[in-house]
């Protein structure tokens, strides 16, 4: 089971890196979304996949009886999902606003902050 998920995580990373390398903002955005999910799945797999009972301690006992599923990765992923979701929302709005104002979604032509045809700095007075 871990192997299958590890391969899936690998696929996710491949796809996201391919998309991140694009110069169009919308593809980069998709790449970011998939990258976040790839990492979430990675953490999930790193926490070991056990086909065990939920981590609930029976009423009569003080410690769990035998092996239980690992609840911690789910807490980590939940945090990471919320964070990556909010970041994605911000980037989506930013990308759209940039498209409206800069009139391009091609990162090669986004050269407002660093103009291409800038003259050389002064050499003397």
């Amino acid at each position: 089971m871990e192997i299958a998920l590890a391969l899936l995580v690998g696929c996710f990373f491949t796809v996201s890196i391919y998309l991140l390398l694009s110069k169009y903002v919308i593809r980069i955005l998709l790449g970011v979304a998939i990258l976040g999910n790839a990492v979430n799945l990675l953490i999930f797999t790193a926490g070991r996949l056990t086909k065990e009972i939920p981590p609930i301690i029976p009423e009569a006992l003080q410690v769990p009886d035998g092996i239980i599923a690992n609840p911690l990765p789910q807490a980590l992923i939940l945090t990471a999902i919320v964070i990556s979701f909010s970041f994605f929302a911000f980037l989506l709005v930013l990308g759209y606003r940039a498209f409206q104002d800069l009139n391009t979604d091609d990162t090669d032509s986004m050269r407002f902050a660093e103009p291409v045809d800038e003259p050389n700095p002064p050499l003397g007075y």
């Binding site: 991140l20 903002v25 980069i28 970011v32 990258l35 976040g36 990492v39 990675l42 953490i43 797999t45 790193a46 926490g47 070991r48 003080q62 410690v63 911690l72 990765p73 980590l76 945090t79 990471a80 964070i83 990556s84 909010s86 970041f87 911000f90 980037l91 930013l94 990308g95 606003r97 940039a98 104002d101 800069l102 990162t107 986004m110 050269r111 407002f112 902050a113 660093e114 800038e118 003259p119 050389n120 700095p121 002064p122 007075y125």
Partner: protein, 527 residues
């Protein structure tokens, strides 16, 4: 407030029984204060008249809390507080040692000075859109990153400071800013996601996220798995955050676009958080693994230094020059990381404190130049020496400091790092630091000559009437005088009396390299 609370029957034996002292809350105060003030300012965002002053109070409280914490850590050694009073490694720990407290204190002072400057420049519109809440939240993230003792928690603080910095950098929504923010936001997000990836691997391998626990497991020698790979991944992620070559391009693309104050605090604080994370994780947690790729770090350091300063020589815009100088400074600190001796780490900490002060001051000075000349272009500025000799003198001290010349704080940081490279016999690294220092002084004195010494914009005849600069309003003049004055005095004072800083940094370096006190504070279970 020795909290007695209701008696809890601890059947599992994983709760700390010691009473919490009021002084223990000092450990979390540098995070709690900015969060509370951020919420308060968010509620008051429709009343811009009071915002600036409240923010100054908040930053002052933060600085006081950080100072108290630094004093405490210097007195008693590393301190730990674990949330929910669980026994580590369960629960999220805040562990503070000298290195973390020193940097947290410096950054809070920078933020305090920044809030004084901001009070005179923040427009009503910016305040309505939440400039101060973002600033406060960013400080919560910065302090949290310096103080936490949990790897995943470090990731969360990184994201807190990142999302609030997005808000600060894009505020105003000019074309330049949108363009700069695109690059800043995407590349920083990818860097933090890589950090999360490395954290996931660490958890899979060690089964823990508490830094002290990870240190124990990594150094037990029983760990089997790709530990070095994880260390390299962490290095890659944090080096990207710190803007090391060849992942530095987001910094000069974005730091000259927002308000002057915003670029000042970014340049002062954010890249240094990356350096701190490198020290904490790559150096402290994965010490043996770092040795394996120390030579690669050395190459990256040398390239960062030289590429940064060459970039600075090729720019017109003053803030873009400073952006490249920030990168060059990061390279200097990475050189210390490559060596990893006590001397080298002392040098990194001294240099980090110096760099926080000086880079913030330089960007604020660029803001004053921008107000006086309505431009930040080397060809269109000039004549400020005649208009304000005191400002010119202050800038000269900053220029000396950033080039690493005495009598300023920059000299000591570079001096110790050079000493560390000589001790190890890494001559080419020594050469790289010295050459980058020389080129930095050329770059920064070009700025000084063009902006202050030359009689006016490009083409002004020598000996012509002094160029008329824009008059500054009283309030702005006072704020700029105070904020720049404090920073210039700080770098000068640390240059003349460096003993306290160097002594503290040396203790911090020992704490990072031999973290037994840190580990004991986490597992001692007394806090």
């Amino acid at each position: 407030m020795a909290s007695k609370g209701p008696e809890i029957t601890d059947v599992t034996g994983i709760l700390v029984n010691a009473d919490l002292q009021l002084a223990d809350f000092l450990i979390v105060a540098p995070v709690v204060i900015p969060i509370l003030f951020s919420a308060l300012l968010l509620m008051l965002r429709t009343r811009p008249a009071t915002q600036g002053r409240i923010a100054i109070i908040g930053m002052a409280l933060l600085a006081l809390a950080c100072f108290g914490l630094l004093q405490r850590v210097l007195d008693t050694g590393p301190v730990t507080m674990t949330m929910g009073r669980w026994v580590p490694p369960f629960g999220i720990s805040f562990s503070v040692d000298i290195a973390g407290a020193l940097l947290a204190f410096t950054s809070s002072v920078i933020a305090f000075v920044g809030s004084i400057y901001a009070n005179s420049t923040a427009s009503k519109l910016e305040m309505r859109y939440g400039f101060y809440p973002f600033f406060m939240a960013m400080m919560a993230g910065v302090s949290g990153a310096f103080l936490t003792g949990d790897l995943f928690n470090l990731y969360v603080w990184f994201e807190v400071l990142l999302i609030s910095s997005f808000g600060m950098i894009v505020l105003g929504s000019e074309k330049n800013q949108l363009d700069g923010t695109m690059k800043y936001a995407f590349l920083n997000l990818v860097a933090t996601t890589m950090f999360l990836m490395a954290t996931g691997y660490t958890y899979g391998l060690t089964g823990t996220l508490n830094m002290a626990d990870i240190w124990t497991k990594v150094n037990s020698g029983l760990l089997e798995g790709p530990v070095t790979t994880i260390a390299v991944l962490f290095f890659l992620a944090f080096a990207m955050k710190a803007a090391a070559f060849p992942m530095n391009f987001w910094l000069p693309a974005s730091y000259h676009t927002p308000k002057f104050l915003v670029s000042a605090v970014f340049a002062g604080l954010l890249t240094k958080v990356g350096v701190y994370a490198l020290l904490r994780v790559t150096l402290m947690l994965f010490a043996d693994q770092r040795d394996l790729f120390a030579e690669i770090i050395a190459w990256i350091a040398a390239l960062t230094m030289i590429a940064g300063v060459l970039g600075a020589l090729a720019q017109n815009d003053i803030r873009r020059i400073f952006g490249y100088l920030v990168i060059s400074g990061i390279g200097t600190m990475l050189a210390g990381l490559a060596i990893g001796s006590v001397t080298a780490i002392t040098g990194i900490l001294v240099y980090a404190v110096h760099s926080m002060i000086v880079m913030t001051a330089l960007y604020l000075a660029a803001g004053v130049v921008g107000r006086m000349m309505n431009s930040n272009d080397l060809r269109q500025v000039g004549g400020i020496y005649a208009a304000s000799p005191m400002f010119a003198a202050g800038f000269l001290i900053l220029a000396l400091s950033v080039s690493g010349l005495p009598p300023t704080s920059g000299f000591w940081g570079k001096f110790i790092l050079v000493k560390a490279t000589v001790e190890l016999g890494a001559w080419w690294l020594t050469a790289a630091i010295l050459i980058s220092g020389l080129l930095t002084s050329i770059a920064i004195f070009r700025v000084w000559i063009f902006t202050f010494w030359r009689g006016g914009p490009s083409g002004t005849r020598d000996g012509a009437e002094a160029w008329k600069v824009e008059p500054l309003n009283q309030e702005y003049q006072l704020a700029a005088f105070i904020s720049l004055g404090v920073l210039v005095l700080a770098t000068f004072a640390l240059g003349v009396f460096p003993e306290v800083l160097i002594g503290t940094a040396a203790d911090g370096a020992k704490g990072l390299l031999y973290p037994t006190g840190y580990i004991e504070s986490v597992f001692g279970g007394t806090q």
